[in-house]
Amino acid sequence: MKTKKHENHTYIIESEDMERKNEMLLQYIKEKVNQLLQIMGTKPLRDEELNDESLIAIDPIGIIAESFEQVLDHLKESNRQLQLARDYLQAVFDTAGVGISIIDRDLKIIKCNEKQKELLVNGVSQIEGRHCYEVYCGIDSPPLICPAIETLEMERAVFLKEVTKKGKVFQIVTSPLRDRSGSISGVIEVSMDITEKKRALEAMCQSEKLAAVGQLAAGIAHELNNPLGNILGYAKLLLMEQDTTEFQKNRLEVIIEQAKRGSSIIKGLLEFSHQKMPVFERISLNACIELALRSLSDEIRSNNIEILTGLGTVPYVMADPKQMEQVIYNILLNAIQALEGKGGIVEIKSEALNGSVEVTIKDNGPGIPKEHLSRIFEPFFTTKPVGKGTGLGLSICAEILKKHSSNICVESEVGKGTKFSFRIMGGVTGNV
């Protein structure tokens, strides 16, 4: 501070000036102490509580500064724990075996885990912030039936037992997401892929159905064969009688025809139920194809079918020749029947493929609708008119091929036709 001792009045002025400045400084410190106290959650100090002496004695700024240090330490520790909890949660979120999405009230995706992206998102890079119906359902506006909307409106969890999306089967659970006040701020959607589980369950049902059919068939088929044989025999005898009228002959022919049909159903059932183990021999599939075509020559002719054969040079295979002929026969018969007597082309090919032989049978019939494709190998499933098919042909094929460690493949397009194919492992030297 500047002092000018040689001039008395100036000294007094300067001393008053210093006192005023000190007061200002004390006032400033009091204000700051009160400000800090307010931050610490208390009321401002009254003048009598914080006079100049107590300001020094209590050292409020020192106390508060040290307390702030603890507040900061506490905040740092809280942050660290929060980060840790977030990391754990994120790890669980990302590695969960189910798809998880968090959706807000406007149906916009806030967060979505990797599994959910894998299950439901195809080629969309930016997911967060977009509407769930747009990303998951591929539509521009919310659907009429939506578990997320139902959860938001009804404020309860919604469970969808089975939903088919993007070729997969899902179970979906939506649960309300509540904020601290308890009101609903969004929805947590969990999707479980049950495609494989469902397939396994269906396969199990199929096996059970097959076993039941087997038992039933074995029980009654044989018993029915004898009376049917008698009906057929006596009807034929009556037909040979001299005095049978034309009207009676017509009726007898119907009896014979129906009895034969009954026999063929029983034959199918017996074949299906006997589940004979194949007798493996070194055979030529081309020979089986030729035999099957010969057996079907009447049907081919009467239905006006053009057969295109493309039998390649294929290796011998180890298979049961009768069963292979039956598989080819059944598929060919199916193709012929699919053309409904309107004529058409059936193409049968055999070719060598990586040491195995692939047989393909293709028709240009009406094709199989998508909803029937998964059922055509079920026993008794048929789309043919009543009396035209038993629904056993293709299930017999599937069973036989299963025993040959193979399976039957089908591709079909409505209006264009159907293609069946199967492969039998080669492994026997020498070509046909």
């Binding site: 610490m40 959650g41 209590i58 106390i63 508060i64 040290e66 603890q70 506490h74």
Partner: protein, 92 residues
């Protein structure tokens, strides 16, 4: 200052009855700062006895912000504010 504090095993007593708030907050904070090691480690609890009602709000608010657990109990004619380590199993 009516600072009658003293360490009694794991309890640090601070009797500020008769003090007017907010000075009692400053005194309590000073005591918390002084024993922060023991309090943080859970080796001691600070028990503040005050007859000022406002202190039952200001002291807990400040102590909670500093990361302590606080428990207020009404006694005959005064309040007892216990400040200690934040622990799920520990009440104070």
């Amino acid at each position: 200052m009516a600072d009658k504090s003293g360490i009694n095993l794991d309890v640090i007593n601070l009797d500020i009855r008769g003090q007017i708030c907010p000075a009692c907050l400053l005194i309590s904070l000073k005591e918390i700062n002084k024993h922060k090691g023991l309090l943080r480690d859970g080796e001691a609890n600070l028990i503040v006895k005050t007859d000022h009602r406002d202190a039952t709000r200001t002291i807990p608010d400040a102590a909670i912000a500093m990361g302590y657990a606080v428990f207020v109990e009404k006694k005959k004619g005064y309040y007892e504010i216990t400040v200690g380590r934040k622990d799920e199993d520990q009440k104070a």
